[in-house]
C-alpha cells in the first residue's frame, strides 16, 4: 500500500515537473514554431498556424536584411570578454572575502549586491556622457567594461559562496609548503573551485548575452550585439511576428546550445555552493 502511494506520488511529481518545465519552455517553442511560418499565418490562431505550410522565408529575409555574423561576433566578444574580465577581478576579491574576512566583509558584500537593485536607466545619462567623452560609444571595449561592472557583484557573490565551501586548512598547508599567494590562488584554490567557477562563467555569459538595456543604448552599428539584431524586427505598422521570431531563434540558439551541453556542469556548480 505504502509502495503504491509512493509510486503514485512519484508519478504525480514527474507529471507536475514535466508540466512546469513545458510551461516554462513553451514561449521558446512557440517562437521557434512561428519562425517557420509566413507573416500572415504567424498571426493566426495556434491551430490555424500549425496547420498552415512551413517555410524558411523569414530566415531568408532576416539573413538578407541583417549582418547576423557581425552581431553574433559582437555578442561573443562582449559576453565572454566581460566574463573573463569579471573573473580576473572577482577571484582575488572572493578569495580575500572567503579566507581573510574583515569586520566589514558582510557589509561590503551586501553593498555590492545592493548596486544591482538600482534601476539602470537612473544612470543612463551620466554613463552616456562618459562614454561620449572617452570615445567609447558603439565600441565593444566600452560594452565589455560596462557589463563587467554590472555583473561583478553576482560573480563575486557566487565565487565567495563556492570558496567558503573549501577548507581553509588546505590553503594553509599550501602556504606552509612555501606556496606564494599567486600560486595558492592559481594552483590550489582555482583547480578545487573549477565546478563553481565554471557555473559562474556560464551564468555570467548567459546574463551578458541577454543584457538588453546597455547593449541597446550604447551601440549603433559596429558593436551592436544580437539584442539590437532582435530589436530591429519589431514594427508598429506591418506584420512582423515571423521575422521577429526567426531573429529571436537565431539569437538565442547559440546560448541554448551552450546551456544544453554544459547543463551538467551548471547544475553541479549551482548545487555546490551556497546557492544550493
Amino acid at each position: 500500500m505504502a509502495r503504491k502511494t509512493t509510486q503514485t506520488r512519484k508519478a504525480l511529481t514527474t507529471v507536475a515537473a514535466w508540466s512546469i518545465g513545458f510551461l516554462i519552455f513553451f514561449p521558446i517553442l512557440w517562437t521557434v514554431l512561428m519562425s517557420f511560418h509566413s507573416e500572415g499565418d504567424a498571426i493566426k490562431g495556434p491551430f490555424a498556424m500549425l496547420a498552415s505550410p512551413w517555410t524558411f522565408e523569414s530566415y531568408g529575409e532576416v539573413q538578407h536584411r541583417s549582418n547576423y555574423a557581425l552581431h553574433f561576433w559582437n555578442s561573443v566578444v562582449i559576453s565572454f570578454g566581460s566574463t573573463l574580465a569579471a573573473l580576473v577581478i572577482a577571484i582575488p576579491a572572493a578569495w580575500a572575502m572567503a579566507f581573510v574576512p574583515g569586520r566589514r566583509t558582510k557589509d561590503l558584500l551586501m553593498w555590492m549586491l545592493s548596486t544591482k537593485m538600482m534601476p539602470s536607466v537612473g544612470v543612463l545619462i551620466p554613463m552616456y556622457l562618459m562614454f561620449r567623452d572617452f570615445g567609447l560609444l558603439d565600441t565593444r571595449s566600452g560594452l565589455v567594461a560596462v557589463l563587467t561592472l554590472i555583473n561583478l557583484p553576482i560573480v563575486v557573490w557566487m565565487l565567495y559562496t563556492y570558496f567558503k565551501e573549501i577548507p581553509g586548512e588546505i590553503l594553509e598547508a599550501a602556504r606552509m609548503d612555501g606556496a606564494s599567494l599567486r600560486s595558492e590562488i592559481l594552483h590550489v584554490l582555482t583547480p578545487m573551485a573549477v565546478p563553481g567557477i565554471a557555473s559562474t562563467v556560464l551564468l555570467n555569459v548567459i546574463l551578458a548575452w541577454n543584457e538588453a538595456f546597455w547593449t541597446l543604448q550604447l551601440t549603433t552599428s559596429d558593436a551592436a550585439p544580437l539584442t539590437q539584431f532582435i530589436a530591429s524586427y519589431s514594427s508598429p505598422e506591418g506584420l512582423f511576428y515571423a521575422k521577429l521570431s526567426a531573429a529571436s531563434t537565431m539569437a538565442i540558439a547559440p546560448i541554448l546550445i551552450l546551456g544544453w551541453f554544459s547543463q551538467k556542469q551548471l547544475v553541479r556548480g549551482l548545487t555546490f555552493g551556497a546557492v544550493k
Binding site: E39, G40, I43, K44, R65, L124, I125, Y128, L129, F131, R132, L137, D138, L216, Q217, T220, S221, A224, Q228, A231, S232, Y233, S234, S235, P236, E237, G238, L239, F240
Partner: protein
C-alpha cells in the same frame, strides 16, 4: 631620388585625401516600417549618385529608437546623422534647438510641393525641422461585399451614426465576422491615437485653455460610451489587446466589416496577403456634425540632429530620400501603390498615381486634419491624436491603460474617466502646467 621620394609622398597624400573623401559615412536611425525597409533596398540609386557618401542603417523598434535617439540628441552623443522621427517629436525637439533647419535644402527639392498639413506639423517658427518621408491620416476601410449584402451604401463622409448602423448590419458573430475593428491596446500611439482623434469629432479635448484636464466633461463621456458600445456589441473578442497589427490581421483574414485606422494600411488590405483585397472600399473618418472628423495626422520624417559633424552629407541624403525623384524611383521599381504616400502634392496630381484606389481618400483625409486646431473648441496645444508636450508619452499611455481597462470590462467607463482625470491632474500639476 628626391623626385622619387616627392612623387611617393605626393601619391600618398592623394591616396589619403581620396580615402578621406570616400570615408564620409552617415548613420541613419530608422524604424522597421515597410517604406523604410524598401528604401534600404533602393540605395543603389543613392550610391550611384553620391559615391562619396556611405549610409549605415540602424533599424530599431519604434519605442527603443525614440528612447535611444532622445538620449543621444540630448547629450549630443553624435551617434546618428539622420533620424527618423514622428510628428510628435519634431515641434518639441525643434523648439529645443536639437534639430537643424532644413530651409536650405536645394531649390529642386521643392519645399512648396509638400502637403501643407504635413509640412505645418514639421515647422516651428518658420523653420522646417524634418523632411516628411511618408505621411498618413486615418480613414474607414470597409468590406464592400458585406455592405452590399446588408443592403447598405457607405457615404464618402460618414457620420458615427452611419458607422454604427453599418457595424450592426455586418456583424455575424456565428461566422466570426465582426462589424467593426478598432484599436484597444493601451498606449499613447495605440488606443489613445484612435480615441483622441475620435474624441475631437465629439467635441472633447485633453485640456482647456488653462491646461485643465477635461476627462470629467460630457464630450469625453459621450466618446467613451459610443466607443464601448460599438466594440462590445460589434467588435471582436479580446479587443483590448488589439493594436494596428492585430486588426490588420483580422481585416486581411475577412473577420472585420470595417476598420478605422492609418491610411497606410490601405496598401496592406488591398495587397497580396489580404484575402479580401477585391472587396475593400474607403471613406473619410466619421464625424458628428460638429465640424471635426475623427482622423489623425502623422508623418515619419527625416531630421538631422544639431550635433552632427556631417551636415552636408546628411542633407544630401535627406534631400534624396524625400525627393520627387525618389517617389518616381519607387514607382518604377515597385509600382505606384508602394510609393511612400502623403507628402507631396505633385504625387496626387500624377494621373498614374490617381489610379491607385486609396490615393484620393488618403489625400482628402490628410487635408481634413488640422493639427493647429484639432478639436471643436480652442485648445492650447498642437496635435490631432497627441498633445505636443514632452509629458504626453507617459500621460497618454497611463490614460490609455484606464480606457483599455474599460474596454476589457475591468472598470466602468465612469471609473476609467475618473482615474484618467485624476492622474492627468496630478501629472500636469507636477509638471507646472497647473498652478
Amino acid at each position: 631620388m628626391t623626385i622619387t621620394v616627392r612623387a611617393l609622398l605626393g601619391a600618398c597624400a592623394v591616396t589619403a585625401l581620396g580615402c578621406a573623401v570616400s570615408a564620409e559615412t552617415i548613420t541613419v536611425a530608422t524604424v522597421n516600417n515597410g517604406d523604410m525597409i524598401r528604401m534600404q533596398g533602393l540605395m543603389e540609386d543613392f550610391n550611384a549618385k553620391h559615391p562619396d557618401i556611405t549610409v549605415e542603417w540602424v533599424t530599431l523598434e519604434e519605442n527603443v529608437l525614440r528612447q535611444k535617439v532622445t538620449t543621444d540628441i540630448a547629450t549630443k552623443g553624435g551617434q546618428f546623422d539622420v533620424l527618423t522621427i514622428g510628428t510628435y517629436e519634431v515641434p518639441i525637439w525643434g523648439k529645443q534647438g536639437w534639430l537643424l533647419s532644413l530651409n536650405d535644402l536645394p531649390a529642386e527639392w521643392d519645399a512648396a510641393d509638400l502637403l501643407p498639413a504635413i509640412a505645418g506639423g514639421l515647422t516651428v517658427d518658420g523653420n522646417l525641422y524634418a523632411a516628411p518621408f511618408y505621411g498618413e491620416s486615418s480613414m474607414v476601410m470597409y468590406r464592400t461585399d458585406l455592405m452590399e449584402k446588408a443592403g447598405l451604401t457607405m457615404p464618402e463622409a460618414p457620420t458615427w451614426a452611419d458607422i454604427k448602423a453599418a457595424a450592426a448590419a455586418m456583424t455575424d458573430k456565428d461566422n466570426e465576422i465582426y462589424g467593426i475593428c478598432l484599436r484597444g491596446k493601451a498606449g499613447w500611439g495605440e488606443n489613445m491615437a484612435f480615441l483622441t482623434a475620435m474624441s475631437n469629432s465629439f467635441g472633447a479635448k485633453w485640456f482647456d485653455e488653462a491646461w485643465t484636464p477635461q476627462f470629467d466633461q460630457q464630450p469625453w463621456k459621450d466618446t467613451l460610451a459610443f466607443y464601448l458600445d460599438l466594440m462590445t456589441n460589434y467588435g471582436p473578442p479580446g479587443a483590448s489587446n488589439n493594436g494596428f497589427n492585430e486588426n490588420l490581421a483580422l481585416f486581411q483574414s475577412g473577420k472585420c466589416g470595417m476598420w478605422i485606422d492609418a491610411t497606410v494600411a490601405a496598401s496592406f488590405v488591398t495587397g497580396k496577403d489580404s484575402t479580401v483585397a477585391e472587396h475593400v472600399g474607403f471613406a473619410l473618418a466619421p464625424d458628428n456634425g460638429l465640424g471635426k472628423r475623427g482622423n489623425w495626422l502623422w508623418a515619419w520624417s527625416l531630421a538631422i540632429p544639431a550635433g552632427t559633424q556631417k551636415e552636408a552629407a546628411a542633407k544630401t541624403f535627406v534631400a534624396w530620400a524625400t525627393s520627387k525623384e525618389y517617389l518616381a524611383l519607387v514607382a518604377a521599381k515597385e509600382g505606384w501603390a508602394n510609393v511612400p504616400p502623403g507628402t507631396r502634392a505633385s504625387l496626387y496630381a500624377n494621373p498614374e498615381y490617381q489610379t491607385v484606389p486609396f490615393a484620393k481618400m488618403t489625400l482628402d483625409s490628410i487635408n481634413s486634419a488640422d493639427p493647429t486646431h484639432p478639436t471643436v473648441d480652442p485648445v492650447p496645444y498642437v496635435g490631432v491624436q497627441f498633445v505636443a508636450i514632452p509629458e504626453f508619452q507617459g500621460l497618454g499611455t497611463a490614460v490609455g491603460q484606464q480606457l483599455s481597462a474599460a474596454l476589457a470590462g475591468t472598470m466602468t467607463a465612469d471609473e476609467a474617466l475618473a482615474a484618467a482625470q485624476a492622474l492627468t491632474v496630478t501629472e500636469m500639476t507636477k509638471a507646472g502646467y497647473i498652478k
